[in-house]
């Protein structure tokens, strides 16, 4: 029965606005409508998805539409989840549209229950239970409650490998991430069955065999069964090894660009070798990397084994150079405080030129050597719309280099070090590195200003000067008791002689004077008698440094090797020279760089020349303490000074003019998931001694002090923190030993 609509009333609205309803209802006042139009109107209103049910009724000529809004979610809370964090679950919930304030749909809730259950099953928690419930609240709101019972994880009782002839079960099981339960697996939970880990292990098994020439290797079946009490899991793997293939011939196909002879040099395998997938993949990468250097960044090489008879296979490397690639733009992101040109000047790859994978990779290492970044990643991205342009994107994660750092350091030998150091590597935005610092501690009061322009020319010719004033009370550092005041300045230059070596040189002037302390040792008094107590020395110094270290901070590969010479030129009060030679080698044991062997050596020798027979005692080398031979008190090694007559305390250290020092370290992964980019733990063996040829304390092997122990380093925002536990091995009675040593604010 038709009727003309006098008015439309909507009942039951709460959060939805009336306007939305009226606009969704294709019915106007004064219109004639019948059952059919009414039904369509309601259908279109329903499509808005805002209402759970809609009824229409008539009161005279007034159409009354009663709606019930879908409830909105007022709160979500989750209980009982331990192995999947709450916010991961919350993300999954909001992903599925279940979020505070959103409209609630029951169907999505059930789907979500299944989703969470499945992720628990994937973790091997077979008897997990997930119960989602929605509780009605007044004003059409709903509170969602998610009760999770994770149940226990089925532990692997037994993994049985069948069909392996050439390799034993134990050898293969070692490759597996999954392990059978034992007392230590409760720590690593390696015995917790999870399907992904099993497929991961099967993949490792496959590549293990393929890397040893078993081309036809196949896993026939991997059956998983669970005990009736659902506590234990049994895995049985049936594999078919197939024959081991050796290489019959190696050939190259395709456009070789640099000629077959050049590429052959990169192929170490030859006829008769056992075929190995890992080696062939590595060779393909080497070949495409070589082409990358010629500008073919899109080069693609793949190795195809063709099994022949007699278990041999011919290996063919198909080379497709693709088009010559050019770099359009080099972009940096993440350098929120480091200037653009500080990064760009390290690039050896230019924009608007041939893309060379070599240079792109080398530029990444140079960024890492700066020591400003915790991590540097590079990505070569093809430019859409062209087939030969790429953009190179470097993303860096900055490390607190402390452009303004008030550091409170403490080291045992010089007590609390209060220091304010401002170093800004682009002072006033000019790219120059300027730092000035004041450090006060019990034994040392020093102030220094230094200015260095690292890139005076674009090739890295550097120029700079530095001024310093320092007052050291050696008594405090329990070195023989005298005070030394020094001030002076230096003018420095430097330039790279090749991509890894730098030559630095410069001139300097230092004025130093000595004051006797309370019980000044005999040697000091003799020196002052012979030479007087204040000197003007003019220095000429030069240093040669080569470094291929892969990171500026906490390197794991490469070596650094430096030699420098300071000479007080004729015309100085004390003509002497002082030379030091340092080496530092890192040999990564594992490919991931988590285990590294490090060897460090330091030699120093100083002597007078012209009418001076020995170097001044205050320029002596010292050994012992953190940063030198750990386990012995700082500066305590070497022949002691002879005491003044009435000084009955044990004689003070006096150092010497010949320093020999070295240490061997085994760096191991930081336990408890420490971040290996800013933390380092290592076992070490230190050895060292300082001799004094001028006082007849000639170098002798049995005088060298040894110690061993474990050290920890951590680059914190305040500065590097380090401590070590060392056990002296061959200390002499008069040595002062110190098992625990630490320092904050000094890098070593």
């Amino acid at each position: 029965d038709e009727f003309s609509v006098a008015d439309i009333e909507v009942e039951g609205l709460q959060r939805v606005s009336a306007g939305t309803v009226f606009s969704a209802l294709p019915v106007n006042i004064g219109e004639q409508i019948d059952e059919g139009d009414l039904a369509d109107a309601l259908k279109s209103l329903f499509r808005t998805g805002l209402f759970t049910d809609i009824q229409a009724s008539r009161d005279g000529n007034v159409l009354i539409v009663t709606v019930r809004e879908r409830p909105s979610i007022s709160s979500i809370d989750i209980e009982g989840n331990k192995n999947i964090e709450t916010d991961m679950l919350m993300d999954a919930l909001s992903g599925a549209g279940l979020q505070e304030g959103q409209v609630f749909r029951r169907a999505t809730l059930e789907r979500l229950e299944l989703e969470i259950l499945r992720s628990y099953i994937a973790q091997g928690r077979y008897n997990a239970r997930v119960k989602a419930s929605a509780e009605e609240l007044p004003r059409n709101r709903v509170a969602i409650q998610l009760d999770i019972n994770e149940g226990s994880v089925a532990a692997i009782q037994h993994i049985n490998i069948v069909g392996n002839r050439d390799f034993s079960d134990e050898a293969l099981l070692d490759l597996f991430e999954l392990q059978t339960s034992s007392w230590w697996t409760s720590l690593t939970s390696a015995d917790k069955y999870a399907r992904e880990r099993l497929s991961g292990d099967l993949e490792t098994l496959r590549s293990f065999y393929l890397d040893r020439g078993y081309l036809d290797f196949n896993v026939d079946s991997s059956q998983v069964s669970i005990s009736p009490d659902k506590q234990q899991v049994f895995i049985s793997i049936a594999l078919n090894e197939g024959p081991q293939y050796t290489i019959s011939e190696v050939n190259l196909r395709g456009d070789l660009i640099v000629g077959e002879e050049e590429l052959r040099k990169l192929i170490p395998i030859e006829e008769g070798d056992v075929f190995s997938r890992a080696t062939t993949t590595a060779i393909s990468e080497a070949l495409s990397f070589r082409l990358g250097r010629e500008g073919y960044a899109f080069a693609n090489v793949n190795a195809v084994p063709e099994p022949g008879e007699g278990n041999t296979a011919a290996v063919t490397f198909f080379v497709e150079p693709g088009k010559r690639a050019y770099v359009r733009r080099i972009n940096f992101d993440g350098n929120v405080s480091t200037r653009d040109d500080v990064l760009r000047q390290e690039m050896t790859q230019m924009e608007g030129g041939i893309a060379s994978s070599d240079r792109i990779e080398f530029s990444k290492t140079r960024l890492e050597r700066l020591g400003f970044f915790k991590s540097v990643d590079v990505e070569t991205v093809p430019v859409p719309g062209t087939d030969d342009l790429v953009d190179v994107n470097y993303s860096v994660e900055e490390q607190p280099t402390g452009s303004l750092s008030a550091s409170v350091g403490f080291s045992q030998d010089s007590g609390v070090i209060l220091g304010v150091n401002v170093s800004e590597n682009n002072f006033f935005g000019s790219g120059k590195r300027v730092s000035f610092g004041v450090n006060v501690s019990d034994s040392v009061k020093s102030a220094n200003v230094s200015y260095l322009d690292p890139y005076y020319t674009v090739d890295g010719v550097s120029r700079g000067f530095s001024l310093f004033a320092r007052e050291t009370d050696y008594e405090e550092e329990d070195i023989s008791s005298y005070l030394l005041d020094e001030y002076g300045g230096r003018l420095t230059f430097g330039y790279p002689t090749d991509s890894v070596t730098r030559l630095n040189f410069g001139v300097g002037y230092t004025r130093s004077n000595i004051k006797e302390g309370v019980f000044t040792s005999q040697e000091v008094r003799d020196f002052i008698l012979d030479e007087g107590d204040s000197f003007d020395n003019y220095f000429l110094f030069g240093s040669w440094r080569r470094s291929t270290l892969n990171r500026g901070v906490l390197p794991t590969d490469g070596y650094s090797h430096s030699l420098n010479l300071d000479v007080a030129v004729p015309g100085s009060d004390l003509t002497f020279y002082k030379a030091t030679h340092k080496t530092d080698f890192y040999f990564p044991v594992t490919s991931t760089g988590s285990w590294v062997v490090r060897a460090r050596t330091e030699l120093g020798f100083g002597d007078g020349y012209g009418d001076r027979t020995q170097m001044p005692f205050y320029e002596h080398f010292y050994a012992g303490g953190y940063g030198s031979v750990r386990g012995y008190e700082a500066n305590s090694l070497g022949a002691r000074a002879t005491n003044a007559e009435n000084d009955f305390s044990d004689p003070d250290p006096f150092g010497g003019n010949l320093l020999t020092e070295g240490s061997l370290e085994l760096i191991f992964p930081v336990p408890f998931a420490g971040d290996s980019r800013t933390m380092r733990t290592a076992f070490f063996m230190d050895a060292g001694q300082v001799f004094d040829t001028d006082r007849g304390f000639d170098p002798a092997l049995n005088e060298v002090r040894l110690s061993a122990g474990v050290g920890f380093q951590w680059i914190t925002a305040v500065g590097p923190l380090a401590f070590s536990l060392a056990k002296p091995l061959n200390e002499k009675p008069e040595d002062e030993t110190q098992v625990f040593q630490f320092s904050l604010g000094q890098t070593f």
């Binding site: 209980e79 992101d333 929120v336 405080s337 653009d340 000047q345 924009e351 682009n426 674009v458």
Partner: protein, 258 residues
Amino acid sequence: CASNQQEEVLPEKTYYENAREAMNSGNFNEAEENLNALETYYPFGRYAEQAQLDLIFARYQNLDLEGSRAAADRFLRLNPQSDHADYALYMRGLASYNLDIGLAARYFPVDVGARDPGEQRQAFRDFSELLNRYPESEYVADARQRMVAIRNRMAELEIFAARYYVKRNAYVAANNRARYVVENFPTTPSVEEALVIMAETFRALELPKDSQDAVALLKKNFPDSNAFNQRGEFQANLLNAESRSLSNVVTFGLIGDD
């Protein structure tokens, strides 16, 4: 089991007044607490919309820019047709704009221009959404001006790289960076230097016609640029091959040039 102790729930109006008072007296922590309480106990009360709006402001003043941005998102999601959505959008943009500028960079003379703009790109997107959806909003003028600043900064970054490539004698790279500014940021002040670099690099690459085109463009748009001498001729010499010899550096430029 975890039974959260029942803290006694205050009436809606009291929470709101406490929050307001705290905000006026600058104690934004307390303000935030009250606003959160209002949210939890009266999610659909009369003050709900106002509380969510104030939360954006309170968190920003607490220097929790990330939190302020999240509060703005939440307001926009829960009150799509609110007639104060423009304020939420503006605050969202403002939070992104200042997210990366550390405290030091605001006061110390660190040349902000030469660094990764980071979240300012997101700020640009937020502000343009504000301009498109609420052209009459009172925050539009400030948002627009900040967009101009962000765009100028992006252009400056290009020029910065171009200057380096000039020093590096990589003239194609410098030219492309300069061209990128002319082609993509034609209304930024950096266009002037871009045209000078283009003219010089084309000259260095011995392409006179294109160098003239660039000079003509410069003349037309920047007649009184100081790249022209009094007689109006183009005479910038950006590319004086800065001597890079060692001896020159050591002797502070006295001895010549190898």
